[in-house]
Amino acid sequence: MIAALALFLSCQLLGETIARLLSLPVPGPVLGMLFLLAWLVVRGGPQESERRAAGGLLQHLPLLFVPAGTGVLLHLHRLAAEAMPIAVALIGSTVIGLAVAGLTLSRLTRAGRAGKIAAND
């Protein structure tokens, strides 16, 4: 468990260092995710302890957004002043983003599978 956490934090540390060193626009933890993925590919998969540690961290992922989310208190005035355009823009664009991404991927992968089956016939 401790070794797995040390591995995750080391990947994050490497990510933060490289992001800063090369002034990349990608945050350290996202780069760290790529480094851990590369490490897992090289070693042929996660060990049981790594799988358990990842499960523990991800099982209650929503909890980790609560402190940042409570920061909404700092912006109540601006949110109230422009409530209508912000609310419509957020709801509208979230539905549009979900729909475009979900429909595109499901249609293209279904078309790909259908094409493969047709080619095998």
Binding site: P62, V66, H75, P85, S93, T94, V100, A101
Partner: protein, 250 residues
């Protein structure tokens, strides 16, 4: 008897505890545990989003006790810190789906480009059309991507980084609440596409929701979150200035 003598000890304890991390860390966990229990009671209904309920509970407590957000964050930062290693840990479900991701690289790339642009451009256009001020429009553009990337983009295109942070969280909650319902109505039924849409439109909070659906949905959400953030960071600083000039000229 002097009232301050009776109130004195309780007041002193409150002053002491409210400045310590213990109280706010405990309340953060209690609020989340309550929110999680509520969602469970409602059979996992996505509308009872645990982030939404916990944030609402804590906001009420902070407003009623007149506690500054900075004092609250002094305790909550220990939970906040775990976001970093949790993001790294998303590599584990991602690894489990590696073969499917490689096999579907083409469709994934196309869905990434059209989905990211649709979310960012529709947010800016709707807000500008309805009369939002230019800094608010700029703060809205990167709303679908993970907080640190979104704040960086917002600053570069004339937005307010801290407003973007809040907008990103609200977007995540909206995506997690509406996501599966919207996609089901559109006939999107495979977990990979549902997860990908949640991660692209609603970053980490969408990924957390996708992990509740299945490990496959969670893996595709993590993939979309990483790709979407990178794509937005590379394109929005170039795409937004001409759009902002166009909107200002109207």
């Amino acid at each position: 008897m002097d009232a301050s003598l009776i109130e004195g000890p309780a007041h002193d304890i409150w002053v002491y505890l409210s400045a310590q991390p213990l109280l706010w860390l405990t309340l953060t966990l209690v609020a989340y545990a309550l929110a999680f229990a509520v969602q469970r009671r409602l059979h996992g209904n996505p509308a009872a989003n645990p982030v939404l309920i916990a944030v609402a509970l804590l906001s009420i407590i902070l407003l009623l006790t007149d506690t500054p957000y900075a004092s609250y964050f002094g305790g909550a930062q220990f939970v906040h810190f775990l976001l970093g290693p949790a993001t790294v840990a998303l590599a584990v479900p991602l690894y489990g789906q590696r073969q499917r991701i490689v096999a579907q690289a083409g469709p994934i790339f196309i869905a990434l480009v059209v989905g990211s642009l649709a979310a960012a451009l529709s947010a800016s256009l709707i807000a500008a059309t309805l009369g939002a001020t230019p800094p608010t429009v700029a703060s809205l553009a990167p709303k679908s991507v993970t907080t640190p990337i979104a704040m960086g983009i917002s600053e570069r295109i004339g937005g307010l980084a801290s407003l973007t942070a809040v907008i990103v969280i609200i977007t995540g909650i909206l995506g997690a609440v509406m996501g599966s319902g919207v996609l089901r109505r559109l006939g999107v039924r495979d977990d990979a596409s549902i997860g990908f849409a949640l991660g692209l439109a609603a970053h980490g909070i969408g990924s957390a929701r996708a992990l509740q659906i299945s490990e496959e949905a969670g893996a595709f959400a993590a993939l979309a979150m990483g790709l979407g953030g990178t794509f937005a960071a590379l394109t929005l600083p170039w795409l937004m200035p001409p759009l902002q000039r166009l909107l200002a000229a109207q």
